[in-house]
């Protein structure tokens, strides 16, 4: 049984089709990169997997650990070990990072019939995880993401991932808005969290994050379909040649022609 199996997934927003038949299989221990130009459906795919209600699935199915993922609420997916690192982490005034993470972790533990952690146990866990991502302790007692820099927000996502210890992590454009130092720290954090028991799907526009998080598989998403899959070397080719050659090769309509063509 695969960890994640996506079959012929079609989804969209308010009648506009965005994903038009995605197939993907992810096993434990693997890192997959999904690359594609702007507007190709990358974030939609990440959002559908995490359970964003705005997206409507019109066809296809997704199984996660043998369960029908699409039948689960976002919180049930999280409790089953799915984690989405947001492209734009949300600010939540009035709720401290500590309180938020403890509530999240205990909701997950409760779901798995584990004892909830008390304040002391939680603090010990948090201290240990902070080292992995070099997370500043002062950010713990501040409201979630409020007033954080772009880099701090992304680092907070990976810190949450470290604490919640997901089985499948989806990183949605985690590299966007990061300078090279922050990018390295975030990537190192992800690498440290890697194990034979979990898997990571990295959604990105650029190849540079993949210098640090080396994928086992690279998939190219164009116009809502995975048009090409390959090993890590595929990312380097994309970096060099852009996406248009794949459009041509795969028979997808070139971007310019598509924009100029009849509606």
């Amino acid at each position: 049984m695969s960890l994640l199996e996506v079959r012929n997934l079609h989804a969209g927003v308010q009648g506009n089709a965005i994903l038009e038949g995605i197939n993907l299989r992810v096993e434990k221990g693997e890192i997959h990169a999904i690359m594609g130009p702007n507007g190709s459906g990358k974030s939609t795919f990440a959002g559908v997997l995490a359970g964003r209600e705005a997206y409507v699935v019109t066809e296809g199915e997704v199984t996660y650990q043998g369960k029908d993922l699409l039948a689960l609420s976002p919180e049930e997916r999280a409790r089953e070990g799915l984690f989405l690192a947001f492209q734009y982490p949300v600010e939540i005034p009035g709720v401290t990072n500590m309180y938020f993470l403890k509530a999240a972790l205990n909701a997950i533990r409760k779901h798995r019939n584990l004892e909830e952690l008390d304040a002391m146990e939680f603090l010990a866990l948090v201290r240990q995880k902070m080292k992995i991502i070099d997370f500043d302790q002062s950010l713990l007692n501040r409201p979630v993401n409020e007033g954080f820099s772009g880099g701090e927000k992304k680092r907070n996502e990976i810190f949450q991932m470290a604490v919640l210890d997901p089985t499948l992590a989806i990183l949605d454009e985690t590299d966007s808005g990061l300078d090279i130092d922050a990018l390295r720290i975030v990537a190192e954090g992800v690498n440290k969290l890697r194990s034979p028991e979990n898997a990571v799907v990295v959604v990105t526009h650029y190849q540079r994050l993949l210098n640090y998080i080396v994928p086992d598989f690279v998939h190219v998403l164009i116009d809502g379909k995975i048009v090409k899959s390959g090993g890590k070397e595929l990312a380097l080719v994309l970096e060099e040649k852009g996406y248009d050659w794949i459009r041509t090769e795969s028979g997808a309509v070139p971007a310019l022609a598509q924009e100029a063509g009849p509606k």
């Binding site: 995490a50 976002p74 919180e75 999280a78 947001f86 939540i92 009035g94 909701a107």
Partner: protein, 446 residues
């Protein structure tokens, strides 16, 4: 006979009976004040929605009920054990308990009052010093609305707190008013007078609770005088039962370099109207008015505030928040006057409302009247629902939908509670708010 005449006749009857029981004290300056108050009330009657100040709040249910003023103390079966739900834990402070507006010697622990501090019954204070009437009550009559006049008409008792110049009271003074309506609707009218001398410091917690489920109108007036350089925090906590009406008038005067903070927290009652007004009497003073209202069902909570910048170089900050669920209604009206002489005024007003249901409504009206030209005045009002992106973020981390919504609602409200300086009160408010929000949700679902 029309409704207003009926009202007048009913309260005239109550007032006459009151006078008959005064036993020779009807010639006092206090009673002259009461007569003035009654005359004003009899002339105006209860306000109607035709009046600008009452446009959004109909007090017709109050006008239609024949409330009986409570003229004398009766413990009404309240025991010390009944107080625990309402009082703060372990403050080490002074507790003054009032039953239906009258001081309860039996239920108020004998306080060890520090030097320079008076805290007890206003009736006792007035008996010892009748000049309080001329010094504090008579000058205040000018700004009375009909409810305040009705309170003046039956002015008998309340809390009297005086902190002498230079004295700091480290522990809070807690004024707890309990109403015990069971049969005929009661009119409960405490009158509190709080005087902080020059450089004196005091925290006063004014709480309202109810025992039993009968109809009751609490019509309270609190007068606070902060002397030059004085620092006063006034926390008002309204927790009466769902059949209660509450009209509260708080009038504050700030001396030079005085600091005053008011936190008004409304959690109970059917119809609540708070009038909080502060007037700067000396320069370089600072006034902060905060409010939090949590309402559901058919509750109506109306907060009217007035800050009068009568002199230059004063600062005021105002933050009022409401969380409205069910078919609850909220009203906020914030007046800020900046008089012609009041240059270098710095005034900031914020009103934020969270609507948790489609049927909840808020009428909000900032009202800035500025007659000086070198001033800084800002105001802002927002009305909104929970941010679905925030809800999704919490859910995507495993927190359930209901818990996520509660957490965000709590975070919105707690912003006001965090401004309360007293630890014991903050903890109590946190706990009350958790319970209150849970109740609100149950109401919504059924």
């Amino acid at each position: 006979m029309n409704a207003q005449a009926e009202t007048r006749e009913w309260y005239t009857g109550r007032f006459t009976r009151f006078e008959e029981g005064l036993n020779g004290a009807s010639g006092s300056s206090l009673h002259a004040l009461r007569r003035d108050g009654f005359a004003a009330f009899a002339a105006s009657g209860f306000p109607t929605t035709d009046q600008e100040e009452w446009r959004f709040t109909s007090v017709a249910p109050i006008a239609a009920t024949q409330f009986t003023p409570v003229l004398a103390y009766d413990q009404s079966g309240v025991t010390e054990g009944d107080l625990h739900d309402w009082i703060l834990a372990r403050t080490g402070g002074i507790l003054l308990v009032f039953i239906n507006g009258h001081f309860s010697r039996a239920l108020s622990p004998e306080p060890a009052l520090p030097r320079g501090v008076t805290a007890g019954s206003l009736a006792v204070a007035l008996a010892g010093d009748p000049s309080l009437v001329a010094r504090y009550f008579a000058p205040d009559r000018a700004g009375e609305d009909p409810f305040a006049s009705l309170n003046t008409a039956f002015l008998i008792d309340g809390a009297f707190v005086r902190v002498d110049p230079g004295v700091t009271l480290d522990t809070p003074v807690e004024i707890l008013s309990l109403s015990t309506s069971v049969g005929a609707p009661l009119l409960v009218q405490p009158r509190h007078l709080i005087i902080a001398g020059e450089r004196a410091r005091v925290v006063v917690v004014e709480s309202y609770g109810g025992r039993g489920r009968g109809t009751c109108l609490t019509n309270a007036v609190t007068q606070i005088v902060v002397g030059d350089g004085g620092v006063v925090e006034h926390d008002k906590l309204q927790m009466e039962n769902q059949d209660s009406f509450h009209v509260g008038t708080t009038r504050v005067s700030l001396g030079r370099e005085a600091k005053f903070t008011s936190n008004t927290i409304n959690l109970g009652g059917a119809l609540i109207r708070n009038n909080v007004s502060a007037r700067f009497a000396g320069e370089h003073a600072e006034c902060t008015l905060n409010g939090l209202s949590v309402a559901t069902g058919t509750q109506l909570v109306d907060n009217h505030t007035v800050i009068d910048h009568a002199v230059p170089h004063c600062e005021s900050h105002e933050l009022y928040k409401s969380v409205l669920d069910g078919s609850a209604r909220g009203v906020f009206n914030g007046k800020i006057f900046v008089r012609q002489d009041a240059q270098k005024t710095d005034a900031k007003q914020t009103n934020k409302t969270l609507l948790l249901s489609d049927d909840a409504t808020i009428d909000t009206k900032p009202q800035l009247e500025i007659f000086a030209d070198d001033v800084k005045c800002t105001h802002g009002a927002t009305v909104g629902q929970l941010d679905e992106e925030q809800v999704f973020y919490l859910r995507a981390r495993g927190i359930g939908d209901t818990e996520a919504r509660d957490l965000l609602t709590f975070a919105f409200a707690t912003d006001v509670i965090n401004r309360v300086h007293l630890d014991a009160l903050r903890e109590k408010l946190d706990a009350l708010l958790h319970t209150r929000l849970r109740q609100g949700r149950v109401t919504l679902e059924t």
